[in-house]
């Protein structure tokens, strides 16, 4: 078995299984920890607060933006562009089609390159902020850097593999994808799922009080 076949085959299946089971285990574990019942008579709906809390925090509040605009722009740029790359890159769609039989319209090549540039710019700005801002240096832990560097390497090797000039470049990209998937449930990367719970819990707490935070 070639190295490419290994990282696209057995290692990928193992990594995907760890990713799916680990993430599910973590989410179920958080749900299983429960939430203390609230006996105070409500003024509003906790369920609606859960939904509103999730939606409200997508939209930055204007009063803070003078101080937070860089993080907002870089954060949204990176996340949206990364999602576009993952789900609309022609090679990714072909890979998913091979696994599942599902397929959809891919981005043109120029669109992929623009999205990649935006994603790189966003991630680099976020990382430079992390290593240069005193607040960020205070609160950053090794695992924050690990998540950033690993994601950067996945993106970088993905771009190197874009030309399909050499199978080994594609194999290296897949190796980093596998490592990223294996690392995901144990890391900050889980925020991709846990944000729903954290926003929802706060939204429910304040929703009961009749306020939308």
């Amino acid at each position: 078995m070639s190295f490419l076949a290994f990282v696209e085959g057995p290692l990928f299946y193992i990594a995907a299984a760890v990713f799916l089971l680990g993430a599910a285990w973590k989410i179920l574990g958080l749900i299983r920890l429960g939430r203390r019942p609230d006996l105070a008579p409500p003024r509003g709906s906790a369920a609606w607060g859960f939904v509103r809390g999730n939606l409200r925090h997508f939209v930055p509040r204007g009063i803070f933006t003078r101080r937070t605009w860089l993080h907002i722009v870089a954060g949204y740029s990176f996340h949206i562009a990364l999602a576009v790359l993952v789900f609309f890159g022609a090679f990714h769609i072909a890979f998913i089609e091979r696994l599942t039989g599902l397929s959809w319209q891919a981005l043109p090549r120029w669109g992929f390159i623009v999205a990649a540039e935006i994603a790189f710019a966003g991630l680099i700005v976020l990382w430079v902020r992390r290593i240069s801002d005193p607040v960020m240096r205070q609160i950053t832990r090794a695992e924050d850097h690990a998540s950033t560097i690993l994601t950067f390497l996945v993106m970088l090797t993905g771009c190197l593999a874009l030309q399909e000039s050499h199978a080994s470049l594609r194999a290296i990209h897949m190796l980093f994808v596998d490592i990223w998937l294996l690392y995901f449930p144990f890391s900050r990367l889980m925020h991709a799922f846990t944000f729903v719970l954290s926003r929802g819990h706060s939204g429910a707490t304040y929703g009961r009080k009749g306020i939308n935070l």
Binding site: G22, W25, K26, L28, G29, L30, I31, R32, L33, G34, R35, R36, D38, L39, A40, P41, R43, G44, G53, N54, R56, H57, P60, R61, I63, F64, R67, T68, H71, G75, R130, D133, P134, V135, M136, R137, Q138, I139, T140, R141, D144, F186, R188, M190, H191, T194, F195, L197, S198, R199, G200, H201, S202, T205, Y206, K209, G210, I211, N212, L213
Partner: protein
């Protein structure tokens, strides 16, 4: 000594874990250390201190969670990837961050992309600090006063009765103490009783006009809850229980929470959970009640104050209490030239003294630094003559802050402002 130290840390860790439910755990899991919360925190904004970043203040509890409770922590522990155990040195270092530099105002929740309720989590984390004996001396002293007199300022029933009699004489209105079967039972903060007795007079005037049947309990006239500020669940429950039992003994239908932020949160939102049951009466904040009476037409529209005024939003009443519109409607009815501060409403700055900070002399300089944000908001309103502060604790912080800055600005409560609009009607009646 060494065992004792380990035990103190162990006590704190056990409390941290006890209070880490799915809600708190989801906060720890979702936080990406983006630092946005620092941009909402008046302690960071006015000192530049990175250690005042709200999420950093949660570090001991987060560390205990990741080490002992987090899903998949077993695998990380086997690989040596869990954080080190919380020890006494860490608790000592964090105690000022947890008590001196957090008002539990929840402004950071607004800016957090993950919506972390850091204020609520600090409240839970204080349970660990309190149980392990890491509490500021000032708060301990207030707690001692409460144990001895039921008041954090040591106000006795005798002192309250004297103030009530004085108010009766001034207003000519009888105020009942321990009237069984009254519809409403009013509570106050000690600061109101001794520092701002005009609040009691305002209640008497407004309730007489509205035909409200009310009383004060000789057993529970003090509504503030130092147990909540310290983070001691059992002590907080004891204080709430005294108020609840007194209200149920007097068979009132409503308990009036005073113009005090944390008193409202303690009895309205946390109270039933501390007691483990719902109450036989409804808790209503005085601002909520006055707004209700006004809307029902039981308090008529009087002569509005013509001065240029603004409104401070006490965090525990507005942002964490849910009473956003009520004070604004009352302001519009009572003030002819009401101007909102920049950032008013849910995003308003805390005064800097909430969450027990004003009762903690060690935190005085930090509190004063935090008030710079308030000063900037006030300075931005041209021709401002008075600020309405519907919380006695915030009010005393405002008075200190304004005096330190030599700012000439009247500070008054909302009940008094509303009561004063009735002056002409009262004169006609007389």
């Amino acid at each position: 000594m060494s065992d004792k130290k380990e035990n103190r840390a162990q006590i704190a860790i056990e409390k941290f874990i006890e209070f880490t439910d799915g809600e708190v755990a989801s906060f720890f899991e979702a936080c990406v250390h983006c630092g946005e919360c620092a941009e909402a925190c008046h302690f960071h904004l006015n000192t530049g201190g990175a250690k005042y970043t709200p999420t950093w203040k949660l570090e001991p509890m987060r560390r205990s969670y990741e080490r002992h409770l987090a899903p998949l922590s077993g695998i990380k522990r086997a690989l040596g990837l869990v954080p080190p155990e919380v020890d006494e040195a860490m608790l000592t270092e964090w105690e000022p961050l947890v008590y001196d530099s957090c008002n539990m105002c929840a402004r950071c929740t607004l800016v957090c992309p993950m919506g972390l309720d850091i204020a609520g989590t600090i409240r839970k984390m204080r349970e660990g600090f309190s149980a392990a004996g890491f509490v500021p001396e000032g708060l301990e002293r207030a707690a001692d006063f409460v144990r001895k007199t039921t008041s954090p300022m040591g106000i006795t029933l005798k002192a309250l009765t004297a103030q009530v009699r004085r108010v009766e004489k001034e207003t000519g209105i009888e105020i009942h103490i321990d009237k069984r079967g009254a519809e409403y039972m009013a509570t106050f903060s000690s600061m109101e009783v001794m520092g701002y007795p005009e609040v009691i007079a305002a209640y008497a005037r407004l309730f007489k006009r509205a035909g409200v049947d009310w009383t004060i309990s000789s057993k529970a006239y003090e509504a503030t809850n130092v147990g909540v500020q310290i983070g001691s669940g059992p002590f907080a429950r004891e204080i709430v229980a005294r108020v609840v039992e007194a209200a149920e003994e007097l068979e009132v239908k409503y308990l009036i929470s005073p113009e005090c932020g944390h008193a409202y949160g303690a009895v309205r939102w946390a109270g039933p959970n501390m007691m483990g049951r719902q109450f036989k009466f409804e808790v209503v904040h005085i601002v909520e009640l006055l707004d209700r009476l006004r809307r029902e037409g039981r308090i008529p529209v009087g002569r509005r104050d013509g001065r240029r005024m603004t409104l401070h939003d006490p965090c525990q009443i507005i942002r964490r209490g849910g009473l956003l519109r009520e004070p604004r409607r009352l302001m519009a009815d009572s003030c002819a030239d009401f101007v909102e501060m920049k950032g008013a409403g849910v995003t308003n700055f805390c005064c800097g003294g909430g969450g027990g900070v004003s009762a903690n002399p060690r935190a005085h300089d930090l509190q004063d630094a935090a008030f710079d944000s308030k000063q900037a908001q006030l300075d931005a309103i041209e021709g401002l003559e008075a600020v309405v502060v519907p919380c006695a604790n915030c009010r005393s912080v405002f008075e200190d802050g304004l005096e330190a800055r030599e700012m000439e600005l009247e500070v008054l409560g909302l009940s008094e402002l509303l009561a004063d609009t009735l002056a002409d009607l009262e004169a006609e009646d007389a």
